[in-house]
Symmetry: C2
Subunit: 456 residues, 2 copies
């Protein structure tokens, strides 16, 4: 073991970031603006304020300010579980017999179990500060709903979660965590919204989808006095809050003079990946230092690697603004075969632009290989990873094995976004040898692409 670099690199309180970093400020090609679905004009502050808190709208639209102060109250909350550990994966390196140095930033070190809490507390804080009563949101795999419920409980805000019906039924424990934190959890589609009733009338037996739950949550927010809608990924504001991950990581690495060669993150909507890479990408954009960035997505929902870079709807009900992004089309339904999250049809506009400009790579990986990597990692590093996070583990292991072949001592950094405690059904399938892979054919992808809106 290297004596100089500890297993876990922690930052002192005085070394913690006090500002988020807005990577858009350093992007030459800015991400395309959100468009009003009615007028196809860029969404303005006034357009967005009925849906989002004022301060969050400002953050959403601001693509010039590089650093944004983190309010003291949020810093105080972060102190409850941050800094998240940056871990040198000595045991994994030894197991792989690789000369590579592997590091991971572990964001599952809080009771919500994932990085989602970083943005949940920020969004809840701004809602509270604006004097609102509560917030609405949707959740699929349940990590975001859990994080938001916890943040709202802490601040005394009402929290209404529309949970995709199949998750509500298949993940009762996630539901109960949210309820324990005091959230009201409704299976979606539901009778509580117009869009929900419409969908139920058209598809009586539907088990719901994330896009549908988004539509319901937005309607619920705009139809209740003192409520706003919040979202756990994709949006610029969410990536901004999540830069706390990358800023801490960079500060810890700088402290020990470590420079990563390759930075790897799983990508669903992009909040974790964007948060992790932003400060490093900033250096690359400013021409200060070069890094390799790899987005890892499931082969069953390959937005980057097989999607189109186009304006698309963010939700099924088409009540949300249009976003320009790599997308499989809002009509794309990921196979039920696929376990865990990362099932969103689109991708953050910021990351989409960076990928489009060749500043980042993307790889898609198959499910069983992801669980193999997860199990291998768990056994030596002790952490039982979420299936989402395990996509990054899989590619980090592959990179480390390449180093074993070439003899290069590359420094590999990846984001470990959360724990897999609530994904044991999927692990059980894997343990029993019942897990299979699924790669959509071009024919499978066609309906999603055909449904893309026609926007210049």
């Amino acid at each position: 073991m290297n004596k100089e670099i500890p297993y876990k690199i922690y930052l002192e309180e005085s070394e913690l970031p006090r500002q988020w970093y807005n990577v858009r400020a350093d992007m030459k090609n800015k991400p395309a603006p959100l468009l009003n679905p009615a007028t196809l004009k860029p969404m303005t502050f006034e357009d967005l304020r009925p849906v989002f808190c004022d301060e969050l709208v400002r953050q959403e639209l601001d693509d010039t300010t590089p650093y944004i102060d983190i309010p003291q109250e949020i810093l105080d909350f972060y102190k409850m579980y941050r800094p998240a550990p940056l871990v040198r994966a000595y045991c994994l390196e030894k197991k792989l017999d690789t000369p590579a140095h592997i590091y991971y930033k572990f964001e599952g070190n809080n009771t919500s179990g994932s990085h989602k809490l970083n943005s949940a507390i920020a969004q809840a804080y701004y809602a509270k500060k604006q004097g609102l009563t509560g917030v609405t949101t949707e959740t699929g795999a349940g990590q975001w709903g859990t994080a938001l419920s916890m943040a709202c409980a802490y601040l005394g805000l009402d929290c209404q979660v529309y949970m995709v019906k199949c998750s509500y039924e298949q993940k009762p424990f996630r539901r109960e965590v949210m309820r324990t934190y005091g959230a009201k959890v409704t299976p979606s589609p539901s009778e509580t919204t117009e869009v929900g009733r419409k969908i139920l009338a058209e598809h009586p037996g539907t088990s719901g989808s994330l896009g549908c739950a988004i539509s319901e949550a937005v309607e619920a927010a705009t139809h209740q006095e003192g409520y706003r809608y919040v979202l756990g990924s994709v949006l610029n504001q969410v990536l901004l809050h999540q830069t706390i991950i990358g800023l801490e990581t960079k500060a810890a690495m700088d402290k020990y003079g470590i420079v990563p060669d390759v930075i790897i993150g799983c990508a669903g909507g992009g909040s974790n990946l964007g948060g992790l890479i932003s400060p490093f990408m900033g250096e690359k954009l400013r021409g200060e230092r070069d890094y390799r960035f790899i987005a890892v997505e499931p082969a069953s929902c390959p937005s980057f690697t097989r999607g189109k870079f186009a304006y698309d709807y963010c939700d099924t009900g088409m009540v949300c603004p249009l976003a320009k992004m790599y997308t499989l089309g809002s009509g794309f339904i990921p196979s039920a075969n696929h376990a865990g999250g990362l099932r969103y049809h689109g991708m953050s506009s910021v990351l989409s632009q960076l990928y489009h400009d060749g500043l980042m790579e993307a790889i898609s990986v198959e499910q069983t290989s992801v669980f193999q990597a997860a199990e291998q990692f768990a056994r030596v590093e002790g952490i039982l990873p979420a299936p989402e996070s395990s996509h990054a583990i899989k590619v980090a292991i592959d990179e480390a094995l390449k180093c074993r072949e070439t003899g290069e001592a590359k420094t590999i950094l990846f984001g470990l976004t959360g724990t897999g405690y609530f994904d044991m059904y999927a692990y059980e399938k894997f343990n029993n040898g019942e897990m299979t892979d699924y790669i959509p054919t071009d024919e499978d992808l066609k309906p999603g692409f055909d449904g893309l809106p026609h926007v210049e």
Copy 2:
């Protein structure tokens, strides 16, 4: 907020304990020895070595050496998740509007989710060092089995877990965590052991019990070449390993000049409580400083508060040595009404002796009040606690509320042994208002007492 004391007090690597503390060395009245069930004579080293690793037998029998070096390999493993945070519960204090200062030592900060890992890695290490192939054990609620599976995966030891059948079926996720770490999990009673077959023949429909699973695991260990049996609580060796909890806590408190007035822990077999209080108890035993200690147990399984101080069997099959302890009798079956762990009929001999000598108090609390405390804690402190841990939370809150009445600014310390991710069935019951309390009548306790062996 107090500026001087951070939310979480972490120790530097150089401040971490490098020895376990053996409280028996400072006890005037030593805990009574284990007795050989055949001869009723104290168990010798030779009697115990077919069951336990040699080094662990030495630790079990050693009641004179005050400090025992922690092997470097165990220290290295501890570094992966220790020091565990000592948290100042600022948010809970504020919520309770109490002048009390509340601290908790959080042991759920590792993927096994509980303090059990502290002893699991030690026991697995000594087995490995002795050149053994594997270990066997039993698990009820599943925390111990999870921790041991993780430790064995890390060291490359085979791990065979006998899991109480009702838990095996009702807690499939715990089972899958163990399997993911590579353990072989068998529902108990099973056809794989003589004692299991005997029990199945007598009670074909039985859903098993901890005492029965212990008997099977002991038989499996002694009938396989290169295997030994390990246990997650009750034993002197386990309490010894768990003193890492109290030693870290005391070091962190000393660093900031904090002196607890009252120290609270939940008590099932006693490993967490013993580990937390030992270094403080040592000061009390040596006359250096006085503390109040409170053991908290469920009203449905009240070993301390309603049990007898007597020699008793540790398991149902009566293959284990007799231990002198506060016990409800090995024939006592805790009500199925009771959720979570802390269901063991007996109690650590060390703690039993300390309690008998008036050095410690004990309180029993009812289940619904425990879950109320758990929910209150989760909403402000962000951590979703295990039901076991929540027994301590309940009494810590009660003590803090007394301070609000009296105006005293007492310093309260409690052990938060783990997280409740795998106990959401119980939380669901509580959330739905379907949880009830159960206190056994004297009549209910009679059969257990009647079955106590007649030992002077």
